[in-house]
Amino acid sequence: MKILVCVNHVPDTTTKVNVASDNISLDVNGVNFMLNPYDDFAIEEALKTKEKFGGEVVVVSLGGDSHKETLRKSLAMGCDRAVLLKDSSSRDSFSIAFAISEFAKSYSPEIIFIGKQSIDYDNSQMCGLIATFLGWQSVSVVVKFAIEGNSVIAEREIEGGHEIVSAKLPAVIAAQKGLNEPRYPSLKGIMESKRKPIEEINPEQCANKINVLRMRKPAAKQKGKIVGTDISAVPELIKLLHEEAKVI
């Protein structure tokens, strides 16, 4: 089975956000980047699928040279080879998904795994976009996954419960935490990843549909009120919530 997994290289979760001088993007000075945390689950599911059905796992990312670090980690976890759709320009979800789907057409995988969202811009759009561009099915926010015959049987999280979904293959599966326990790269995996190829391809172009006017930091929150330091503060707290905030 040919399996494709899409990954992103994102600012570390502890990043302090500052706005760059263009007023529309993140100031990347001093920011550490890492593999998008949801993509860990996508890679793990791709590797498990290969272990079950055989075949190969190709990992793809769109971005500049820095994305090679994340591709290298994906290879160390066990992906067979990596493709960098090399482009440092600022693309929106639509444009990135278009480029990835064009690459997928040339590679023709039978299934694609991706994280349910990227923790930089939190758009949660890739799964549905790529699947629709390819004319495939998309299953988002997946916490359980199996292939039965020609279909995917998956469980996805919804408000207050889960939906059991049956989708015809080929499909794009967006991984949510809980789907599996991602493996750590082994020492052997890390050594091998250095010899595995990262192919560079110029991605297809596609105009953005979103124009960012400005990026800003949230308004600083006024310092809160410490109502007290023990149980005697409880009546005052409840009174504030009831009369001042009017939320209870």
Binding site: A97, I158, A167, K168, K217, G224, V227, V247
Partner: protein, 322 residues
């Protein structure tokens, strides 16, 4: 410029987000002097549709289809697409719920439309819709416009509050979509409700417990406080990873993003990843022994003290109000 609201229903009743999105979109429609319609898809849902009139919707198109008691990504995409063509819609508003977030990107690719996801603010400037949306887990905000001819906005639940309603009722028009077998390539075969409890993304009040509670048994007092308040129970990542609470209660990065009116964080230190999921809550209360816990930096009210004493006392005090 015609506006379409995707009004989400489950089990033959509207989700609160259907009203929020209707109201927010009808404000935009008024400012732009645009026509606004809504669409509701389900098995037999004509009778629930008129109430959308209370939120500014004049006409609701309903699709009654026995095969669509449950959601289907492929069939819903096809139906919305057909309505967009038939009614010549140029702007679509959806909730940023699990259904709306699943549907929006599929429509985006089909309609060649840009999507502004999970918006927390909308306004009209020079005849254009400007959306504000959180990025980097709420540590930044983008103001953006969609430049494609067709535009899609998904709105974060619980953020667009409804201040005023009318008693007007919407007219209901039934639509029979053309559905082929391939439109059912993905179907929901079963919906599993997680017990009877409230979901954190839909709750108006959330009481969250953290690792400081020391053991899973101690969540009983969190549950009692939540029950007294009619609130949902939330959990920090640490307690979910420890197996004390299920993942669907987790708030924060790798969990759920919430914006209730009141968020009570009990024995939660307030890691950046946690605050990413709840910082847009209207009021935040922190109960923590450690006065230096980061959660106090974003709390509106706090008590520095022992949760084991304070939480039961809060439950009793709230009972007195009722």
């Amino acid at each position: 410029m015609k506006i379409l609201v995707f009004a989400e229903q489950r089990d033959n009743s509207y989700k609160k987000t259907a009203f929020e999105v209707s109201k927010a979109a009808s404000k935009i429609a008024t400012e732009l002097n645009s026509e606004i319609i809504a669409l509701t898809i389900g098995e037999n849902i004509s009778s629930i549709a008129p109430q959308l009139g209370n939120y500014g919707i004049k006409k609701v198109i309903v699709v009654n289809e026995p095969r669509l008691k449950n959601y289907s990504t492929s069939a819903f995409t096809s139906i919305v697409n057909q309505i967009v063509e038939k009614e010549n819609v140029s702007v679509i508003f959806l909730p940023a719920s699990s259904m709306g977030k699943d549907l929006a990107p599929c429509l985006s690719a089909k309609l060649n439309a840009g999507v502004a996801s999970d918006c927390t603010q909308l306004k009209v400037e020079d005849g254009k819709i400007i959306a504000t949306r959180p990025v980097f887990s709420g540590k930044g905000f983008l103001d953006l416009e969609i430049t494609s001819e067709k535009k899609i906005f998904t709105l974060r639940p619980n953020v667009f509050t409804i201040s005023q309603t009318t008693t007007e009722l919407a007219t209901v028009e039934e639509f029979k979509p053309q559905l082929e077998e391939k439109d059912f390539s993905i179907i929901v075969t079963e919906v599993k409700q997680s017990s009877s409890k409230k979901d954190v993304t839909e709750a108006d009040i959330i009481v969250t417990g953290g690792r400081g509670l020391k053991s899973p048994e101690n969540f009983v007092m969190i549950e009692k406080l939540a029950e007294t308040l009619g609130a949902a129970v939330g959990a920090s990542r640490a307690v979910v990873d420890a197996g004390w609470r299920p993942h669907d209660e987790q708030v924060g990065q790798t969990g759920k993003t919430v914006s209730p009116s009141l968020y009570i964080a009990v024995a939660v230190s307030g890691a950046v990843q946690h605050m990413a999921g709840m910082s847009t809550s209207k009021y935040i209360v922190a109960i923590n022994k450690d006065k230096d816990a980061p959660i106090f930096s974003i709390a509106d009210y706090g008590i520095v003290g022992d949760a084991f004493e304070i939480i039961p006392a809060m439950t009793e005090e709230i009972k007195k109000l009722k």
